[in-house]
């Protein structure tokens, strides 16, 4: 079976994670269908970022089974480095604070993974990177260094860098939280385009309207569990849980 025929890009079951005594994830299960966008919303400290990071093994789950595309890991048993690396190779990650490599140009940032890690021909990687940069609207910035770009531009380069590895799943950790308000739109519109193009996305976000507009599925996390999940019109439009209602109320009407 080709991986593109796998119905679910993510199947997570009973994911647990603690930092010391602090249990951040208390048994989380969900699935992400191929070609869909999933938004994770929830109050600070509810575990949403940690949940996202376990999908890329940036934080290793203590227990639970996670399958990303065709790689499944049972985190309650010991894992090997090659196993983890294979698991990680299935997803791309966009950080809240972009984490671009400051000593490399925009183009070098994007081709670093394909050329150095995946050992693909440089010409090919450059050509693909230029297409990606064009897609995020930064073709003419390819030879600049990150410090020469605005926050929104830096984040769009971060997205191009994640896409360059052709992942089966793209993870976004609050991609607009660190941006000035007027720069948020340009980043969200790039992500929206990706959703329409059929990329499989998981996005941790505080942008409720954006989540409603773009996602096929919304997960509301609270206290280390998924309290409510479903299509956006249900979770955001007509939440069942009291906690969800309170949260949305505070976000949508802060005053």
């Amino acid at each position: 079976m080709s991986t593109d025929e796998i119905e679910y890009r993510v199947v997570a079951q009973g994911v647990e994670k603690a930092f010391g005594d602090n249990k951040v994830l208390k048994g989380v299960s969900f699935t992400v269908q191929r070609g869909t966008a999933t938004a994770i919303i929830g109050p600070s400290g509810s575990g949403k970022t940690t949940l996202l990071r376990t999908l890329n093994a940036l934080d290793r789950a203590d227990a639970g089974v996670i399958r990303v595309d065709d790689v499944e890991i049972d985190f309650s048993t010991p894992t090997t480095k090659p196993e983890i690396r294979r698991f990680q190779s299935r997803s791309g990650f966009v950080f809240q604070g972009h984490n671009l490599f400051p000593h490399k140009t925009v183009l070098q940032n994007v081709i670093e993974g394909p050329v150095i890690v995946q050992k693909r021909p440089r010409d090919e990687a450059v050509a693909e990177a230029e297409v990606l940069l064009d897609q995020v609207g930064l073709a003419e910035k390819k030879d600049q260094y990150p410090y020469q770009l605005s926050g929104g531009q830096q984040q769009r380069v971060g997205i191009a860098r994640a896409l360059a590895l052709k992942p089966k799943l793209v993870l976004f950790d609050e991609p607009t939280s660190a941006l000035d308000p007027e720069l948020v739109g340009e980043v969200l519109s790039v992500i929206k385009d990706l959703a329409f193009e059929g990329w499989t996305l998981v996005i941790v976000t505080h942008e409720i309207q954006f989540a409603k507009q773009v996602s096929n599925q919304v997960l509301f996390t609270d206290g280390g569990i998924i309290l409510e999940k479903g299509p956006p019109e249900q979770v955001i439009g007509d939440p069942k849980e009291e906690r969800t209602k309170q949260f949305l109320q505070r976000i949508l009407n802060p005053l």
Binding site: G97, N99, F101, P102, I116, V117, P146
Partner: protein
Amino acid sequence: MVLLAALLTAACGSSQNGADSTATSGVLRVGTEGTYAPFSYQDPATGRLAGYDVDVANAVGERLGKTVEFVQTPWDSIFAALEANRFDVVANEVTITPERQAKYDLSDPYSVGEGVIITRADNTSITSVEDLRGKTAGATVTSNWAQVSRDAGATLEPVEGFTQAITLLNQGRVDAVVNDSIAFHAYQSETDDQSVKIAATIGEKSEQGFAARKDSGLLPELNRALAELKADGTLETISQKYLGANVTGAPEAGGAGRSVWALIGENLWPLAKAAITVTIPLTLISFVIGLAIALVVALGRLSKNLALSNIARFYISIIRGTPLLVQLFIIFFALPQIGIKLEPFLAAVIAFSLNVGGYAAEIIRSAIQSIPKGQWEAAETIGFNYVGALRRIILPQAARVAVPPLSNTLISLVKDTSLASTILVTELLRTAQVAAAPTFEFFALYGTAAAYYWVICLVLSFGQNRLEDRLERHIAR
């Protein structure tokens, strides 16, 4: 030039006359023994004072346009007489010593003796000071030469004076005599004794000059006159006349004399060569190896493996907690005792590499730690393993942070290599020491060495600036 010198002489001379009431009429009163052949003695043929010191004093007087009046005084009271203003200067082979320098005005030397080893003419077994080991040497017991003989491993035969020593030598009761070359030349010119010879020199000098009362104001003109006499060969002519040898300290007859500048000039290339062939390679090789050690130690220190990080900590602690000189000595002098005998250069490279390794490890560690965690994570998400992330992402950024302090380490290392002179590495300082020893021109030669060190460090600082500019090109300014 000559005119200028004459004018200066005249000017100084007149001011001197005005200042010193005892020398009003252009008279220079000179105290001398008159019983110390061939330096100061009564010529039996003419009944007049003669000798090397007498003629030099006369020549100086002539230079200065002054009449020289000699005052004969026994050696034992000669300085008391000088103090009592019985005469203006002493011309009697007064050896220049720090003690005398503190009490009197001493001129530049006009006779320079060298420590020599004297043997019978037919002796071929002694050609250097090292050959004295196990031999019997005659020297005056309180003299510096006695110490030299003992240090060389000879059995010392105490003697009462030079003539007695030579007598013992001729009798075969000592193998060698260690003394001053001037004494030997004087002896030979007096006796024409060809049965003894100078077998070797030992690089120790004694210098003799005029003595005047402290703050007499006479020194500038005395020294100028001596310099002129040396330059035009007069001094050597006098020396040849009385001693049959040139003891003036000037190397060649009629030559310009070996000025400080000439000495520096002669040693410019040897010192540069030492810098280029030893100091710089020693620095660079040690630095590169040291950096490699430092990187490994820094990573060990950062490792989650407790054993590794403790080993790294211990290494850094030892290197930083002990003097570099002691580290050098352990590697060069102590290791042979457990059977590891290293060539001086190799021992120096090892010591300096280990030392740089300890210091630079902490610099590299802190530079790596200064890189945000997000850079490691970003590298991980695009598929890098630890080594790949380190090499491609972390170290290039850490380099920018580490370059200024590492440059400091390198520049310190350049100068620290001078310590290798203590373990027989003939680097820049050692070469300067060797050149300075026989000439006593410490200021000139160590100054030249210092200038070379400075130039090397200047070049390195320039390189540091270039490197920093390069590494900062991706940083907002």
